[in-house]
Symmetry: C2
Subunit: 320 residues, 2 copies
Amino acid sequence: MSPEWYHKDRFLATRPAIASAIHRTPVLRSRTFDQWVGGELFFKCEPFQRMGAFKMRGAAHAIARLDEAARRRGVATHSSGNFAQALALAAREAGIPAWIVMPSNAPAVKVAAVRGYGGQIVTCAPTLQAREETLEAVVAETGATFIHPFDNEDVILGQGTAAQELIEEVGTLDAIVAPVGGGGLVGGTAIAALHLSPATRIYAAEPEGAGDAWQSKRANRLILQTNPQTIADGLRTSLGQLTFPLIRDLVHDVLLVSEAQIVEAMARTFERLKIVVEPSAAVAVAAVLHHNALFRGKRTGVILSGGNVDLKKLGELFSA
Amino acid sequence: MSPEWYHKDRFLATRPAIASAIHRTPVLRSRTFDQWVGGELFFKCEPFQRMGAFKMRGAAHAIARLDEAARRRGVATHSSGNFAQALALAAREAGIPAWIVMPSNAPAVKVAAVRGYGGQIVTCAPTLQAREETLEAVVAETGATFIHPFDNEDVILGQGTAAQELIEEVGTLDAIVAPVGGGGLVGGTAIAALHLSPATRIYAAEPEGAGDAWQSKRANRLILQTNPQTIADGLRTSLGQLTFPLIRDLVHDVLLVSEAQIVEAMARTFERLKIVVEPSAAVAVAAVLHHNALFRGKRTGVILSGGNVDLKKLGELFSA
């Protein structure tokens, strides 16, 4: 029934292809969180993934699937977030070049991180048009393969390996909650559950201030994000042509949370789980805390997507 | 050769006695840290321990060793730090009362934490004399057993189970580094290594501003701490009558680190390991980073002792 690209055999071939490039991250529990929610929570901890986020899985998989000629030419993407770092690191590990198109207003700390992982940075004006034109020029000049940060089959399948490891480690779950931005993580999660634990309900957690997945799910068509307003900087993007159908067909519901709930969930995660999470990861935590009626008496997986947060900003966030 | 209280049989009986009360915490690795040090590091992650620190191990063990009559009367201690919370929680789990003597100037957040774990708080004036008199009065009135936060055989043996789990999980280590305050953790660590991996060198990591263990080790006699100056609030105390001989006889050396090195190590741990650590835990990280000649080409365990840090203070710490 599922489109060919995410058939079971192809999904199950994913993790072996990336096993040497990624960490198998731990699953942690907290009795306090369990009490708050009234159910059992299993936190899949991607902040401990290489470069600090699940994006490493998809990037490594996209590179693993290239043929020899394409590997020689390298890869390219546009991203100012975790995928930029992930593709740079995965490419370095594979011994191939990576060109990363970043807007001129990208935070210096993010540019430095990509450079630290060996990525070749190509700066462009901070507009969608400049970004796409610059990327096209890079691809035309170098022959590099463009790897979309989320609307790419191999990337989505790679992201699904986090949920696969979670299900293999803790057994059947009633639900899994993952944040949704472009939809690669929750889409991959839904594919993993489809094949490994089909009764598991998949929930996408989304900021109210960037609610395009919630709108798209309800409208039953892809509605693009305009003017997102959220501290969860990884979740400001629109869904894509591959990820929207996954949310439409395989994700049970989209759960919205407020900015205050995101910050509170981030603090609770630092305080109780002792894990450094970025705001985007805290969105999934906020969803289980504030939509807890869905999870009471249930076994629920929560995908903590990443932990790349600017320490200098923590004081501001936690001063309330 | 070893005093009877920490003979192998008695040490090996410890973990089974506390298994149901504690978490087996994960061991995490970081390629970046390995590169910085030039060796392999294995981080034993006690921030993920119940109530957020290794102290839960010793508290649970001290309570497990009480006879039935003593259990009915309960336990008492003086502490404004992690041991207060640990004893309160371990007592609640055992279904027995715990009286915690805390100075009137203890931070409200710590008092609230002890109360949250069910401890009965007895406030005293913020002097050593008042603390001891108040504790004696509590013990006289209630018949509770005084459990010293570190200078107690069962507590020390309990703390040693962290290193035991570490050695069992990763195999032989060339060295283990643990922070030293009262000496319960590093003392227990040395006992674990004595029995399970006798060639492992044990290093105590200590702030320069609270260098009593360093002085005591060099003087070959117990020198008390006076006027400690360090942000590592768990490490301001003196060694005790039981812990000093362990540091003298079983600990290879004491490694001093500066305040700036502690803060830097704390930031690196947040950024790279994505683990929330308190300053006392960062002292061990600072020691491997700044005494790295000792650990180059070696396999070294690092005990991250705890993660109970006030989020509101992070901004200040990381603003540099």
